[in-house]
C-alpha cells in the first residue's frame, strides 16, 4: 500500500485523532494488514503518539500487524458446528492449505482463523470465506469451495 493512498484515507477523516480506529479499519480493509510504516505515517499525521497507535492496533482482533492472505477463511468452532464435525472440516482445510489457524500461506493466498460462533448454527458446520458463508460443510466439499479462490 503506498503512502499516497494512506494519506488519502487520513484526509478523508480530516486528520482527526479521534478517527484513529476508523483510519486503521479502512487501511486494514484495503490492505488486509497494517504495516509498521503505515502506523508511523498515521502517528505522524494525526499527532498521536506511536505507543497509542500500537496499543490500539494490538488491542483489537480486527487488526493484523502481520501480512494476511487475499482470502480470509473463518471456520466456526462453536458448539453446534463442533458437534456436527467442525474439527474434521478444519483438519481438511489445514491439509489443503498447509496452514494452521492464525497463519497465512507463503503466496499470501489464504489466511486461516477459527471463530467461536458465526451466528448461523442451523447451517453448521460453517465455513466463511471473505464474508461469504458456506454452510453444511462436509470435509469432502471443502476442496471444491477452496478451488473457487485464487
Amino acid at each position: 500500500m503506498d503512502k499516497e493512498r494512506i494519506d488519502q484515507i487520513i484526509d478523508k477523516h480530516h486528520s482527526d485523532p479521534s478517527s484513529l480506529i476508523q483510519i486503521l479499519l479502512d487501511i486494514q480493509a484495503e490492505h488486509h494488514w497494517l504495516p509498521k510504516e503505515a502506523l508511523e505515517q498515521i502517528s505522524e499525521r494525526l499527532q498521536v503518539p506511536m505507543t497509542r497507535v500500537q496499543h490500539i492496533a494490538t488491542f483489537y482482533k480486527a487488526f493484523s500487524l502481520v501480512p494476511k492472505g487475499r482470502h480470509q477463511i473463518h471456520i466456526c468452532m462453536g458448539t453446534a458446528c463442533h458437534v456436527r464435525g467442525a474439527s474434521r472440516v478444519l483438519d481438511t482445510v489445514e491439509g489443503l492449505t498447509g496452514i494452521k489457524p492464525g497463519e497465512t500461506d507463503l503466496d499470501l493466498k489464504f489466511s486461516l482463523e477459527t471463530v467461536n460462533c458465526l451466528g448461523c448454527c442451523a447451517l453448521g458446520p460453517v465455513l466463511e470465506i471473505d464474508g461469504k458463508t458456506h454452510g453444511k460443510m462436509a470435509p469432502v466439499q471443502t476442496a471444491d469451495v477452496l478451488k473457487n479462490y485464487d
Partner: protein, 197 residues
C-alpha cells in the same frame, strides 16, 4: 474551595472538594498501601491495593481510594479483617506474576500472603502502568506503552523513540515495582544494537 469533613478510621479529616479519599488519608497521616499510585500522575486504579470500605448513610461499599472522590460525612475504613483479606488476595495474585519483587514481598509479609498460592505465570509485569503513564504524562515522550490485551497485555518500548530518549532519562526505572521494565528496556536496547550492526 469548599471544605469537606469526612471520617477516616474514626478520625475527623478535613479535605478539599475534588480530592480523593487516598489523598485525604495521606494528608491526615493515615497510610494506605499503594502500588500504582504516583503523586505526579493522574490516578489510575490498576493495582486495587488501596481498596477501602466506605459507608455513606448506612450503605457500605468497597472502593479503590485512589479514584474515589471525598464526600461530606463519608465514613471510611482503611483497615479491617475484610479489607486485609482482600488485600492479601490481591498480593497473592500479583505474586503469581512477579514472585521475587521486593515491594510485593514486603506486602506479602504485612498481609500474610502466600507466595505460592497461585500457579506462577511469571510475566514480571503487574500492569501498574507507572512507566507508561510517567513517560506520557511527565516526560511527554511516549517511549513505552502497552500492547496486546487481557492476559497477554505487556509493556513495549517503541525502539525508534527509546533509542533517542531513554538512555539519558531512565527515570521510569526506579518507579517499577517489579523491575520488569528494566528488562523490557534492556531487551529493546539489545534488539536495536542488533539491527544497527
Amino acid at each position: 474551595m469548599s471544605e469537606i469533613l469526612l471520617k477516616i478510621d474514626g478520625k475527623e479529616v478535613k479535605a478539599r472538594e475534588g480530592m480523593t479519599v487516598l489523598e485525604a488519608a495521606q494528608r491526615a497521616g493515615i497510610s494506605i498501601p499503594t502500588l500504582c499510585h504516583h503523586e505526579k500522575l493522574e490516578p489510575y486504579g490498576a493495582c486495587r491495593l488501596c481498596i477501602v470500605e466506605i459507608d455513606m448513610r448506612g450503605w457500605k461499599k468497597l472502593v479503590v481510594s485512589c479514584l474515589y472522590p471525598v464526600a461530606q460525612d463519608l465514613v471510611v475504613t482503611t483497615k479491617s479483617e475484610k479489607i486485609n483479606r482482600i488485600r492479601k488476595m490481591i498480593v497473592e495474585l500479583l505474586l503469581a506474576h512477579a514472585p521475587d519483587a521486593f515491594d510485593l514481598q514486603d506486602l506479602a509479609r504485612e498481609y500474610g500472603a502466600d507466595r505460592d498460592r497461585f500457579e506462577k505465570e511469571s510475566s514480571f509485569c503487574i500492569h501498574c502502568g507507572l512507566c507508561v503513564r510517567y513517560c506520557a504524562e511527565v516526560k511527554k515522550k511516549h517511549a513505552v506503552g502497552f500492547v496486546n490485551r487481557g492476559a497477554n497485555r505487556e509493556i513495549s518500548f517503541i525502539p525508534e523513540v527509546a533509542s533517542k530518549e531513554c538512555w539519558n532519562c531512565k527515570e521510569c526505572f526506579p518507579l517499577c515495582p517489579t523491575e520488569a521494565l528494566q528488562a523490557a528496556y534492556v531487551l529493546t536496547e539489545a534488539l536495536m544494537s542488533h539491527t544497527r550492526q
